[in-house]
Amino acid sequence: MWSISDKGEREFTGGKEDWAAVAHIAENCPGFKPDDEDEMVADEAVSCYNCRYRRWTIKSFVCCK
């Protein structure tokens, strides 16, 4: 589910459209923090795609927590 990038960052391997998987991860993640409303992309409120600590990459995102 995660790969380690060249920079040592944890990148999600499911890309930008795996809505169910990232909702599941975030629901079980103590680090989840909702991002600013304008930066939310998932319809599930609790989702890595809506988390303050995800930073978008070309194909997916890295978790910076």
């Binding site: 930066e39 303050r52 978008w56 990459t57």
Partner: protein, 242 residues
């Protein structure tokens, strides 16, 4: 005169949001009696490992009618505001363009489009700002935010990029509304399907959750999709590429 204000990179991973900074600047303009700012648009720029964006690499822009007499004071005030309030570790940039004095609108819009697909540097941003005769300044950190601040204005000027900040309140989820009613009672100027069909006033829309609007053809538009013989408002997932 109409001025465009673009800001970028005022937040960090932990603190702040560039959209909130833009809104604070709008509030200052109103409180000082300098003008009635238009809504903020958010413009997505290139996501690339070589771009050191602090959190999203998106830029914020809004416009306001302002008197010449207030312009210098506004720029000084905005610069001070960004310096004082931007998150530690952020790289804020400010761009202010007087519409009627932009020397090369094509170059400015082209810079905006390039920032969505290419890695640009500060020198290119300052050169474009100088060519176009517009204000560009940095207010902390690496000042990398000048690229997005300038690009945000270029993209807003195209009239075909970005989504509006915040949500639009229509009726409750699941309720219906006529298009004519939506246009008459909200800031939405047109309702259009994702593939470009503009709905007429007598058509009916089923309202969904979390309504966002986008900037297309110079208008604030609500995007919709067709399902089960009815029109539905697009959700976040539908408009994530705007």
């Amino acid at each position: 005169m109409k001025i465009y204000i673009g800001i970028d990179d005022t937040d960090s991973l932990e603190f702040g949001a560039t959209g909130q900074s833009a809104n604070e600047l709008r509030r200052i303009i109103k409180d000082k009696g300098w003008g009635e700012p238009e809504p903020v648009t958010r413009h997505q720029l290139l996501l690339h490992p070589d771009i050191p964006y602090t959190s999203h690499n998106s830029s914020m822009c809004f416009t306001v009618e302002m008197k010449e007499d207030n312009l210098k004071e506004f720029i000084d005030c905005a610069a001070e505001f960004l310096k004082e309030t931007s998150a530690p570790g952020s790289d804020p940039g400010l761009c202010v363009a007087v519409n009627e004095r932009i020397k090369d609108i094509d170059e400015l819009m082209s810079f905006g489009f390039k920032a969505k697909v290419e890695i640009l540097n500060k020198e290119e941003a300052y050169k474009t700002a100088e060519d176009c005769g517009i204000h560009l300044s940095e207010h902390g950190g690496t000042g990398q935010g000048v690229i997005g601040a300038l690009a945000g204005i270029g993209l807003r000027m195209t009239g075909n990029d970005g989504r509006f900040q915040g949500r639009t309140k229509l009726k409750d989820t699941g309720e219906s509304m006529g298009i004519g009613d939506i246009i008459a009672t909200t800031e939405i100027e047109e309702v259009q399907s994702i593939d470009g069909h503009v709905l007429t006033d007598d058509e009916i829309l089923i309202i969904g959750d979390k309504i966002k609007t986008v900037l297309l053809d110079g208008k604030r538009k609500l995007l919709v999709y067709r399902e089960n013989d009815g029109w539905h408002t697009c959700n976040n997932q539908h408009i994530k590429n705007y």
